[in-house]
């Protein structure tokens, strides 16, 4: 187990370094740090002076090294649009995105598990067919379209739910603006969370169902029947525990898709989170912010994937004991 963990962490570090190199190259080639610092109105001489001072004429590797050191200290540059350090901007936007992701994940887990298990145990029943049919349709509707449809039906036509922004938020711990504690905030969270979960949900249902169906055909499940165990125990303990393992691994990967979809969802709902920030930074050519988003998101991926691998190693007894 220990060897396994070390190997995974080592791989994670390598990937992070590669991401940082890519991120830095983009910044180096397309960004304009002088503009980030002092705006547009500088004379060419002043510009050169500043460039010299900032060390922008040094070789690539030296600049990269500096970037790395700064990054590890939490300094990723300055957003010229917001006129604030990038880290500050990202941190201020993060709670919005995180709460959204949290609610959407809740929906996905709470709904996909029972539906997937049901559809696996009773594949021919009408409810199962409806679930599976709904899944294919759900997978075929792009996230932003679901969002638009929701807005059209519930905001424009029915007027039940608000169509943009986060609504009232409450400041927790001095920096976290939360929409979870106010009724208004929660109302604003409903549609974006549903939209965000709309592709993950069918994917998970299909995944759980197919894994579980495979497990239900296995020898040990048959043996469990032969032992005369209660069906509930067979389904939830024998079958589901084995279904969980592959679902965890695949589920971890789906996180990537989830983050991509926050960008789309936040754009539609004008949700002031990291996703919409990213798109705005692209349109404004705010390279520092754009690159930092890539690096931060990259870091989140690497961390989550590594964690998922480690958790898998803990949960699966064959890995744990054999120390693969």
């Amino acid at each position: 187990m220990f060897a396994f963990a070390v190997k995974r962490i080592f791989q994670a570090v390598i990937v992070m370094l590669i991401i940082s190199v890519i991120g830095f190259s983009i910044k180096h080639n397309f960004g304009d740090p002088v503009r980030e610092l002092v705006g547009e109105r500088v004379t060419p001489e002043e510009r050169d002076q500043i460039r010299e001072r900032l060390g922008l004429n040094d070789p690539f590797l030296v600049q990269y090294g500096r970037f790395l050191v700064e990054a590890l200290h939490g300094n990723l540059g300055r957003s010229f649009f917001f006129k604030r350090p990038v880290t500050e901007v990202i941190l201020s936007k993060a709670p919005a995105t995180l709460e959204l992701v949290f609610c959407a994940s809740l929906i996905v887990i709470l709904l996909s598990v029972p539906m997937g298990i049901y559809a696996a145990i009773y594949p021919r029943r009408l409810v199962s067919r409806i679930i599976m049919g709904g899944s294919i349709v759900g997978v075929s509707i792009p996230v932003f379209l679901t969002a638009i449809m929701l807005i059209y039906i519930f905001s424009v036509e029915l007027g039940w739910l608000p169509s943009f922004g986060r609504g009232e938020t409450v400041r927790l711990f001095g920096f976290w603006d939360s929409g979870l504690l106010t009724r208004d905030g929660l109302l604003h969270l409903i549609m974006p969370s549903i939209a965000l979960s709309s592709i993950m949900l069918p994917l998970f249902i299909r995944l759980i169902r197919s894994e579980m169906m495979e497990v239900l055909e296995s020898e040990y499940v048959k043996f469990a029947w032969a032992k005369g165990l209660h069906p509930r125990r067979i389904w939830y303990v024998h079958a589901f525990k084995n279904t969980l393992l592959p679902v965890i691994t695949v589920g971890g990967v789906q996180l990537g898709i989830m983050v991509a979809f926050t960008i789309l969802t936040e754009t539609v709902f004008q949700w002031q989170g990291m996703g919409s920030m990213f798109i705005e930074s692209v349109t404004r050519a705010d390279t520092a912010l754009m690159v930092s988003y890539i690096v931060v998101v990259g870091a989140i991926f690497v961390v989550v994937n590594t964690l998922v691998d480690l958790i898998y190693g803990l949960v699966n007894p064959t890995v744990r004991v054999a120390g693969r």
């Binding site: 296995s218 020898e219 040990y220 048959k222 043996f223 469990a224 029947w225 032969a226 032992k227 005369g228 165990l229 209660h230 069906p231 125990r233 303990v237 024998h238 525990k241 084995n242 393992l245 699966n316 007894p317 064959t318 004991v321 054999a322």
Partner: protein, 322 residues
């Protein structure tokens, strides 16, 4: 005449898109209390299906089309799901072929043993553990206490099968159905496991239905043998008789094909052709298209399993014809 198990004219079909295919054709068998019956035949002959049908555990799309399974005086083939659940693992236990696939890899041995006890009665954890330890000792597993918290992959193949046998003993069943229990094991371990089974059945007075294609194993462990071919029982009699004085042409072919019986030049005796798949079983006697003694009547009429002069039951038109 209180038979432990009595299978009466059992027909098992598989529902295919093109129509039902018969996997078990009009089979009747009995097992006495404490008797050891061997069910022998090639792969695909229907032996496992027959074994599973006793506790109504046939894989889809199989189902019992007609016939009865009478166990301890009651017809269990018409039992509801809950009723048959109470019989399985309780009064009839089953042992499968490959213990690595039979034991759930993510649950401890202890969990998999105790759950059987909890499914068939309520008892305290301590009482359940005690019974588990007792049965593990009966199958000669060392340090049983430690074993309970270990996982299946930590054991060797032979030990895993012993654990499976221990599980089957937990509720002191009246009948054990063993489906190819040693096929997946090394040859050296096979003998140990079979000896163990034999000893346990004798000591606990349990009935045993041993399903296998291994003639050597069946000759050492069982008291009677039923030979199965293409879904039908073709011969049935005491082990000694079947092994040394087979009467049905197929049984003769089987025993003649043993390496020991090979002729001087070292060629093995084969039965020409292959056993037909379910869809291609000939009308009349199922063996008619491979039998060297075949006559007209064999091709037109299905022989029934009747008692012949020798005392065995044989399904052949030509035995006792002189």
């Amino acid at each position: 005449m209180d038979k432990l198990l009595s299978i009466e004219h059992l027909n098992v079909d598989f529902a295919m898109r093109t129509g039902p295919l018969r996997a078990v054709n009009d089979v009747s068998l009995t097992v006495d209390k404490g008797e050891r019956l061997g069910l022998v035949g090639e792969s695909g002959a229907g032996k496992s299906v027959l074994g599973f049908s006793i506790i109504n555990l046939i894989s889809k799309p199989g189902y019992i089309q007609s016939g009865r399974v009478i166990f301890q005086g009651t017809d269990i083939s018409s039992y509801s799901d809950e009723q048959i659940r109470q019989v399985r693992g309780n009064r009839i236990s089953m042992i499968f072929q490959d213990p690595m696939m039979t034991l759930n890899p993510v649950l401890t041995i202890g969990a998999q043993m105790r759950e059987t006890l909890h499914a068939h009665g309520s008892m305290s954890e301590a009482a359940a553990t005690a019974i588990c330890l007792e049965k593990l000792k009966k199958v000669y597993i060392s340090s049983p206490h430690k074993r309970l918290s270990q996982y299946p992959h930590e054991f060797s193949g032979g030990m895993r099968q012993r654990i499976v046998i221990a599980i089957s003993l937990l509720t002191s069943p009246a009948l054990i159905i063993a489906d190819e229990p040693t096929t997946a094991l090394d040859v050296t371990i096979q003998a140990e496991i079979m000896d163990l089974l034999l000893e346990l059945c004798k000591n606990e007075n349990m009935g045993l239905l041993l399903i296998t294609h291994d003639l050597a194993v069946v000759s050492q462990v069982t008291q009677r043998i039923a030979v199965m071919y293409a879904g039908t029982i073709v011969e049935l009699g005491p082990t000694e008789e079947i092994i040394h004085k087979p009467q049905h042409p197929y049984t003769r072919g089987l025993l003649g094909a043993l390496p020991q019986k090979a002729s001087g030049r070292g060629r093995l005796n084969q039965i020409p052709g292959v056993m037909p798949g379910l869809a291609k079983i000939p009308v009349g006697c199922p063996f008619s298209n491979r039998c060297s003694l075949v006559r007209e009547v064999c091709r037109s009429t299905r022989p029934t399993l009747d008692a012949k002069k020798s005392g065995n039951q044989v399904a052949c038109h030509l035995v006792d014809q002189g």
